[in-house]
């Protein structure tokens, strides 16, 4: 029983990170029709900005040092995402092939640049000690970072829902997901919403990167890219443009991965997720969002 609880909480923690990454991807695609293959490097730049800042604050105690580094990482993520939209994506709206190429190019070049500067070896991030400790629930020793991941995802979910339901820009984003041309025909400069959604996507991905550094305590140049592959699967399973669909899909993918790795065979988790994607594409090509609407 304790193993099942541990697997479930770990799966939920993993799902929480997938949700954070995938929610931005889903909103960006839903509003702008942009498949952002550079989303993974939002995680990479956050992680390296965090690690770099932390390494420069040697004399500062661990907790404030980590918090300062995390804030710097998040600011870098938001600025990087905004620049990506303004400089690379905006001139190419409506040209989907070129957008895919430019985001793939950005992902490859940032990864190569990071490798060239800091090498391909993993770098250690010093996390606050509480994160590495465990909390015992029904006999299961749950690492504390899992709780942090789940709680953060819940806060981000409510924040996103609040933004979408209660603000004018949220209204513009929801309407834009349905019909961008009509939004502009109401006198609204929808491009501002595009930049804002990229920044929100960057922030959510940045938060995921901070949490992942707590989970793994190391960073490397390829980490962002490998995480974003599962986020893409989550987006497709959840239904493009749907935050609720993304949430459920992230939870399902996280749990399936954990259960399959333990109960079937180690390494089968990734394969199970791909199998799940295939089943959803056959049975419900539009994703889960309609069933949870």
């Amino acid at each position: 029983m304790s193993t099942f609880i541990l697997l479930t909480i770990t799966g939920l923690g993993l799902g929480a990170m997938y949700f954070l990454i995938a929610s931005g991807l889903s909103l960006i695609y839903g509003l702008m029709g942009v498949l952002n293959f550079a989303h993974g490097v939002f995680l990479t730049v956050t992680a390296y900005a965090l690690w770099f800042t932390e390494s420069k604050l040697g004399g500062v105690p661990v907790l404030p040092r980590f918090l300062i580094a995390a804030v710097v990482g998040l600011v870098v993520a938001v600025v990087f995402a905004a620049l990506t939209e303004l400089v690379l994506i905006r001139p190419l709206y409506g040209r989907h092939i070129e957008q895919v190429l430019v985001t793939v190019g950005l992902a490859l070049s940032v990864t190569a640049l990071v490798t060239a500067i800091w090498g391909s070896d993993a770098r250690v991030v010093v996390a606050p000690s509480w994160v590495g400790e465990t909390t015992t629930i029904f006999g299961a020793h749950i690492p504390n970072d899992r709780w942090l991941e789940i709680a953060t995802a819940v806060v981000v979910l409510f924040g996103l829902e609040g933004f979408l339901r209660r603000t004018r820009y949220g209204l513009i984003v929801r309407a834009g997901v349905e019909n961008r041309a009509m939004v502009t025909a109401l006198g609204i400069d929808v491009r501002k919403a595009f930049t804002l959604v990229f920044m929100i996507g960057g922030l959510a991905a940045g938060i995921a990167a901070v949490l992942y550094t707590l989970y793994s305590t190391t960073i490397d140049p390829q980490q962002g890219t490998s995480l974003v592959i599962f986020a893409f699967i989550v987006v497709v399973i959840g239904g493009l443009g749907s935050i609720r669909g993304t949430l459920w899909a992230a939870v399902i993918v996280g749990l399936v991965q954990q259960y399959a790795n333990y109960y079937a065979s180690s390494g089968l988790g990734d394969l199970s997720v791909v199998l799940l994607l295939g089943i959803v594409l056959i049975v419900r090509p539009g994703g889960l969002s309609r069933s949870f609407a």
Binding site: R168, R174, E178, A185
Partner: protein
Amino acid sequence: MAPLPPLVSVNDLHVYLGESHVLQGISFDVPDGGVTALLGRNGVGKTTTLRALMGLVDRRGTVELAGEDIRGLRTHRIVRRGVGYVPEDRDVFSSLTVDENLRLAERDPEPRYDLVYDLFPELRQRGSQAAGTLSGGQQQMLAIGRALLNDNRLLLIDEPTKGLSPLLVTEVALALERVSELTTVLLVEQNLGVVQRVARDVVVLDTGRVVHTGPARELLDDKPAIHRMLGVG
């Protein structure tokens, strides 16, 4: 007394959609005030003309609004110069409520909710209902209400009675009459009964060219011309 300058002046407007040369150098004026009906058979370019005026399709030629060339402006900037648009398929945001659809359209500091609810009281009653669950007639009311919320100089309204029951057609025609007292309207409409009721002037298109302009009454009284140009009567 010199005649008033037109509110809209379209000159040599061309639009290509893919390989198709949809508008082939059309020129016409929309006088300030009243309703000008844009008529023609199906597929002659009426909807494309409105979309070109809105900047929703690439176009060549000049489009002047109150003397200012607006052809180079992006759609949202054209709208902010006082142009409202009611598209052919209504294009209400189906996942948003009626209230949210209206709120999204607000531009003026004091949106004219009183006018909108006076014309279409149902919109007030159905404020919290998702627009996608409204009937076709109710969606049309919402689409028109959205355009009326702001004090526009010009309204472009595309086939507002399309697919509506006779009762609703009368209701929409009444609303158009009221709207025409407040602002200039360029109306695409197939229902000649509605045109007769509301339009002061007409522009007739045929295969992407203007083939007639003039007072509505003059054309509507000329049955052979209507038959020749519109294929009805």
